[in-house]
């Protein structure tokens, strides 16, 4: 199921956690900070239980639309209900004011780091355990073939609902951790941007594999940190990478890697390596040409008339120089045509290698 509104549970978890910290601090309840994410998780769970029943009636496109509508509903309500959500400024809290356990104040960032790491580890283990239960198995079955699940005697709606509730729970924990980390929760937590980022991470990493979203989250975070240092229009590259993944690698990065597993088992992977190396050169040339073109165009659109010696990806060049324009065009177009030939070669080699793997009986 494709959800455009996952940030709702993330954000509500965050808000509830912030309010919880404030209430605990005011009333001196004996609840230490490490348990607060559980409150966020419960908040996510409760809201997922409330909203989930309507939205999980259908899957696929209809579900995506409904989740988007609900997300907009909650996000715009957040700006109206000012007392609870704090309007545009958000709600803040002081995490050091709650009960101390083992003399950990959670003031310094390193302690928060360990807290987040511990909770993430617990959540990952819990999620992995969940996929091993009968419910987890049925979730996979509903994803692959809901009609057959119905024939077996399960209601796909109920299974989707359970999966949705668990997803809300984990999103709530994540929201609470974020709220503890930044000591603030504001309406941006609930917004479409947050949902979009999560979606990008999940699909770039690869759906259908347990480690896919983990890989995706790490990759996307590194990318957004790295790219934003290197170029001004990193969000554009980000969107284009996402489109490229959807177009050419529907299984995401993990799917791409897992495709090679049968070849490794059959020992025919070695044959692919020369083809990859040959294809790598023109593909790289094409990408460099493309990036040059984009940077030159961006320069002329955004800083027209400014200093033309710009720096992108750490490489300085002159955006006014006609030579640079020429190189960029040649690299882009020439690279594309040569790269296309090498891609065909890769496909042919791939088929050979896979056939041999099949002949050895290791690939389906």
């Amino acid at each position: 199921m494709l959800s455009f509104g996952h940030a709702v549970y993330y954000g509500l978890g965050g808000f509830l956690a912030i309010h919880a910290i404030n209430i605990i601090a005011r009333n001196k309840f004996a609840i230490p900070l490490p348990l607060v994410p559980l409150i966020g998780g419960m908040a996510g769970l409760i809201f997922a239980m409330l909203l989930g029943w309507v939205s999980t009636k259908r899957s696929g496109t209809a579900f995506a639309m409904i989740s988007l509508g609900l997300a907009e509903l909650v996000a715009s309500s957040a700006l109206i209900l000012r007392t609870f959500f704090g309007g545009e400024a958000g709600v803040s809290a002081n995490r050091t004011k709650v009960l101390r356990l083992f003399d950990w104040s959670f003031g310094p960032q390193i302690q928060i780091y360990y807290l987040v790491a511990a909770w993430t580890l617990i959540a990952v283990i819990a999620m992995y355990a969940l996929t091993r239960t009968p419910l987890g198995r049925m979730c996979n079955a509903v994803r692959d073939n809901p009609e057959r699940v119905q024939f077996v005697g399960y209601d796909p709606h109920v299974i989707r609902y359970f999966a949705f509730c668990f997803a809300g729970f984990f999103a709530g924990i994540a929201g609470a951790l974020a709220a503890i980390n930044f000591e603030i929760a504001n309406s941006a937590y609930l917004g479409a941007v947050q949902s979009g980022t999560v979606l990008f991470a999940t699909y770039i990493g690869g759906v259908g594999f347990f480690i896919g979203p983990i890989v995706g989250a790490i990759f996307v975070t590194l990318l957004s940190l790295g790219l934003s240092d290197l170029t001004q229009v990193w969000q554009l590259y980000f969107g284009l990478i996402f489109i490229a993944v959807v177009l050419f690698a529907p299984g995401g990065l993990t799917g791409l890697l897992m495709m090679h597993w049968p070849l490794i088992k059959a020992g025919t992977l070695g044959r692919m390596i020369p083809a990859y190396l040959i294809a790598f050169v023109p593909t790289l040339a094409m990408l460099v040409g493309f990036i040059l073109c984009v940077e030159v165009i961006v320069f002329h659109m955004v800083h027209a008339g400014g200093d033309s010696h710009i720096k992108a990806f750490g490489i300085p060049f002159d955006a006014e120089n006609r030579g640079v324009w020429g190189i960029a065009t040649v690299l882009l177009i020439g690279g594309f045509f040569i790269a296309r030939m090498t891609w065909k070669m890769i496909a042919a080699r791939w088929d050979d290698a896979l056939n041999e793997a099949r002949a050895k009986g290791v690939a389906a």
Partner: protein
């Protein structure tokens, strides 16, 4: 009160017709290709920005024709070289593709035209009050918008009901495989429909651009409402989309112009609750909740009539 009522009705119908210009394309694309085009509102935005640029170079009237054609050609190319590649992976990747596209288009637009609103003016020819109603001047450009949307609506109706192409499109709405079996080039019909649908959205963009704000976040603001229209009307139902567009147009316009609140209506009761965190709900005016009205409608429809107002299909 009567003045408010008449003006709000006019504005509501106008907004509804604009929504329908976009929702019609979205609905037809959805019924034929099974793809919910997330980037539909982006083409509306592209239409507005192309219109702005072309009207700066050649004037508004050429822009009204050229901008939709450009956007439509772009849409057709997106279908041919993008969507058709993803089609083999299923509907959800198609949806994701259009989602990524919407993201990329917004970035490109904000790079090219900047993030702040551009100065897209009403053409001088139409910059006068059409009539004065109860001391309110109603601008001629809004009447022009209304006329254009109605002309396109009628044209679309005739094209769908009376022409051969319309016949094939209608057939493909309900029985896409049968149409393919009968020897029509379904791929080309898809490309055509996608192109025409995005061009319609771009027309809406060109005529809405001067009246509303032309800005790089306009797609993000309108997109979700468009989906609400399509779901409320019933997935894949054109008359449903028409009805839902007008409904949402009217609901939103009327909500904005009303100023009542629970506190206003039941003020003297003033329960103790009103002073706690519930005071927001107590004091909020109808005008303030106008932005969430469409989504409330969406949730209500989903609970009580999941197939939409005039929809027949469950999925």
């Amino acid at each position: 009160m009567l003045e408010l009522f008449v003006i709000s009705t006019l504005n509501g119908i106008l907004f509804g017709m604009l929504l329908f210009l976009m929702a019609s394309g979205l609905t037809v694309i959805f019924s034929m290709l099974g793809v919910l085009n997330f980037a539909h509102a982006s083409f509306y935005m592209l239409g507005a920005f192309f219109g702005f640029q072309i009207s700066k170079w050649f004037g508004f009237w050429p822009a009204l024709v050229i901008a939709p054609l450009l956007a439509g050609a772009l849409g057709a190319m997106v279908e041919r070289y993008g969507l058709r590649q993803v089609h083999k992976y299923g509907h959800v990747p198609e949806l994701l593709f259009t989602f990524g596209l919407a993201f990329a288009i917004e970035e490109i637009v904000s790079i090219v035209w900047g993030k702040s609103p551009v100065d897209f003016r009403v053409p001088a020819l139409l910059d006068f009050p059409a009539f004065t109603l109860f001391s309110t001047n109603y601008p001629a450009f809004k009447i022009f918008m209304l006329v254009i949307s109605i002309i396109i609506f009628v044209g679309l109706l005739i094209a769908l009901k009376k022409t051969r192409v319309g016949l094939i499109v209608q057939a493909a709405l309900t029985h896409p495989h049968m149409v393919g079996h009968l020897g029509h080039n379904v791929g080309r019909i898809f490309m055509l429909v996608f192109g025409v649908g995005t061009a319609l959205a771009a027309v809406a963009g060109v005529i809405a651009g001067p009246a509303l704000v032309t800005q790089s976040n306009m797609a993000g603001l309108l997109g979700p409402i468009l989906f609400v229209v399509v779901v409320v009307g019933g997935l894949g139902s054109l008359p449903g989309a028409f009805l839902a567009s007008l409904l949402i147009g009217l609901v939103q316009t009327f909500a904005v112009s009303m100023n009542g609140s629970l506190a206003g209506a039941f003020g003297p009761l003033s329960p103790d609750l009103a002073t706690t965190w519930l005071s927001d709900i107590w004091n909020v005016t109808i005008a303030q909740i106008a932005p969430i009205m469409p989504y409330v409608l969406l949730v209500l429809i989903l609970i009580f009539r999941p197939m939409g107002l005039l929809g027949t299909r469950e999925t």
